[in-house]
């Protein structure tokens, strides 16, 4: 009798997710304040390629607003979901998400700091300025949570301890954001407020480029560590016995998480719950192999955030809702359901 299972539990899921993403993204491009049908999209693509100056209004909306927004949405959803996979694996705890361990609020703080004080500091690095500021803030906040949880009297693997530390550090950095928006002059304050709600309305081709690079680099690096993260599920000692250099692994994972989540946050503001729920759904579908979770989270994160974006644009049409409100409104109840389920031990 062969012990080896006949079929991998992970077979077949990625093609399904790919098809779903393509379909949903196609709908996302159509819907909005102005509905664009597929003929217009086709002609816009054709003209955009051959004669970019001859586009009519609808075609320009498509090329300059709708398309970059849809792509940004895909990359941001992928980044946040991947960040969730990485943080859950690192903390060995299935209810962690990047927001919970401070990355998002720290990134928002870093970005706000740049908005308010950037002119004074004379800090400029082209399109990367804001992402870099966000990375620094996100890195600082995540490091705070991680260092405190490593050294605190509470058990590192205890959910309660981690939640409390996360709440405290998040509160600290969000109060920083609040302070900055209070002392800021008006136009700056407005962009900070937008951020704390989370919105994709600022998406443009430059943002898509930055997001695309960060997400791809993050995924490639993270996949190299997928197997080591699997070993870490059994605890640091067991991972070490399996030949994993645990200290190095942690640093690498935190760095990747901070990069992808902070870059996403610098462009959209804080979007919660995507990073929490996507890994859960994938585990419920198939299992916990981190290689599968990382690849799957790219697709499912993109799908869920695109759906949220469609809702955000349709609810108050022709105005739009900040997407963070949608993800929180849907995500929070799902999170509570997960807490009540018995599938995981907390």
């Amino acid at each position: 009798m062969p012990a080896k299972p006949l079929a991998s539990p992970y077979a077949g899921i990625i093609p399904i997710l790919t098809i779903a993403l393509v379909v949903i993204a196609a709908f996302s491009i159509r819907f909005g304040a102005v509905a664009i049908d597929f003929n217009e999209i086709a002609s816009a693509v054709a003209k955009g390629w051959s004669a970019p100056d001859s586009l009519d209004l609808v075609e320009r909306i498509f090329v300059e607003i709708r398309l970059p927004r849809a792509l940004a949405c895909i990359f941001v959803g992928a980044s946040l979901a991947m960040g969730g996979v990485l943080m859950q694996a690192l903390f060995r705890n299935p209810i962690v998400e990047p927001g919970l361990v401070g990355t998002s609020s720290g990134a928002a703080f870093g970005a706000s700091l740049y908005f308010v004080l950037g002119a004074v500091l004379k800090f400029h690095a082209g399109p990367w300025t804001l992402p870099i500021a966000a990375c620094l803030g996100g890195g600082a906040a995540t490091a705070c949570v991680f260092l405190i949880s490593e050294t605190a009297a509470v058990n590192r693997e205890s959910t309660t301890g981690l939640l409390l530390i996360g709440i405290a550090v998040n509160a600290l950095f969000l109060s920083g954001v609040g302070f900055l928006s209070y002392i800021a002059r008006d136009p700056q304050a407005r962009s900070i407020t937008f951020w704390s709600l989370g919105t994709l309305s600022g998406a443009n081709w430059r943002a898509v480029l930055v997001l695309g690079i960060a997400t791809t680099v993050g995924l490639v690096i993270a996949l190299r560590y997928a197997r080591q993260l699997n070993a870490l599920m059994m605890g640091e000692d067991e991972a070490l016995y399996l030949g994993v250099h645990v200290g190095r692994l942690k640093l690498a994972i935190i760095a990747v998480n901070v990069m992808i989540v902070a870059v996403a946050t610098s462009i959209t503001g804080i979007i919660s719950f995507v990073g929490l729920i996507v890994p859960h759904l994938l585990r419920l579908m198939r299992g916990s192999d981190n290689r599968f979770l990382l690849i799957g989270s790219v697709f499912l994160g993109a799908i869920l955030l695109t759906l949220a974006d469609i809702v955000a644009r349709l609810v108050l049409k022709p105005a739009e809702l900040p997407i963070g409100i949608v993800t929180s409104a849907v995500g929070a109840p799902v999170f509570i359901m997960l807490l009540r389920s018995r599938r995981y031990r907390f």
Binding site: M1, P2, A3, K4, P5, P9, R92, N93, P94, E157, R227, Q228, N230, A231, M233, M234, G235, D237, E238, L240, Y241, L242, G243, V244, H245, R283, G287, S288, D289, R343, Y344, R345, F346
Partner: protein, 259 residues
């Protein structure tokens, strides 16, 4: 052979393991006993390379454990810990395959799959392969970890011994599986290149299965050698503060009875 020479490790000022020297031979069952706080678990951590000793040397054959990387170590040395908690749903097959991680990059090869199949058959967990690890009982989980840990060092490595460290491996097992596991260990030891060092709590289990016993007391070696040399009334009383009665059954097995 595993050679331990004058190894010391402290927590703060208190020595947990104090100038311990011992040789652990391959092909025999070396068990470590001692009361709570005697330094048994610390010794296992030092031997397995998880902790670096402050003083003294630990040599795998002739290689100093400090000169090896974690990955190199992991290919010839496996450790079974007391209490492993996984809070994510994984299939049993995946858990066992983790034992092969040090041996492949990318996807597991044919040898890795063969190792898992053989080791699962050996520990009688083959029919659990597709089950969710989280749904197993404590004893079943323990047997899956036996399989995982043995999968790590399933094949002999030419020119090197294989090392297996066990930190109270029998905690969650009923008496049947305790005997079964000790029997399997003895079977594995017949290959001859395997060095096994295990911590056990149950003195009677040590009396029955050990080929050599190391008795630790307050971080120091109180006695070391054959069962008859170590399990004396004086040694047991010094270490455990209870006086045993030593009985021998007809087949010569020693039993310790405390009153």
């Amino acid at each position: 052979m595993l050679c331990v020479d004058q190894v010391t490790h402290r927590a703060g000022k208190k020595p947990l393991v104090d100038r311990v020297s011992a040789n652990f031979e391959s092909g025999q069952l070396n068990l470590v006993i001692g009361p709570n706080g005697a330094g048994k678990s610390t010794l296992i951590k030092l031997l397995s390379g998880q902790l670096r000793a402050e003083a003294g040397t630990i040599a795998y054959d002739s290689m100093d454990v400090r000169s090896m990387t974690y990955r190199e170590l992991a290919k010839i040395r496996a450790v079974l810990s007391q209490n492993i908690e996984i809070s994510f749903p994984l299939r049993v097959w995946e858990v066992v395959m983790m034992g092969r991680y040090p041996h492949f990059v990318g996807r597991p090869g044919a040898a890795d799959e063969r190792a898992c199949e053989e080791v699962m058959r050996f520990f009688d967990v083959s029919d659990m392969a597709d089950r969710d690890y989280l749904t197993l009982s404590g004893g079943e989980k323990q047997r899956v970890h036996f399989a995982r840990v043995l999968a790590q060092i399933w094949f002999s490595v030419s020119g090197k011994s294989r090392y297996l460290f066990l930190d109270e491996p029998l905690t969650f097992l009923d008496i049947y599986y305790q005997f079964e596991f000790m029997g399997k260990l003895q079977e594995l030891l017949k290959v001859g290149d395997l060095v096994v060092v295990g911590v056990v709590h149950d003195l009677n289990l040590a009396a029955r299965f050990a080929d050599s016993i190391l008795l630790l007391h307050q971080g120091k070696v109180l006695a070391c050698g054959s069962k008859a040399e170590v399990l004396t009334r004086e040694n047991i009383q010094t270490a455990f503060r209870l006086e045993p009665a030593l009985l021998r059954t007809d087949d010569g097995t020693m039993h310790l009875v405390f009153e």
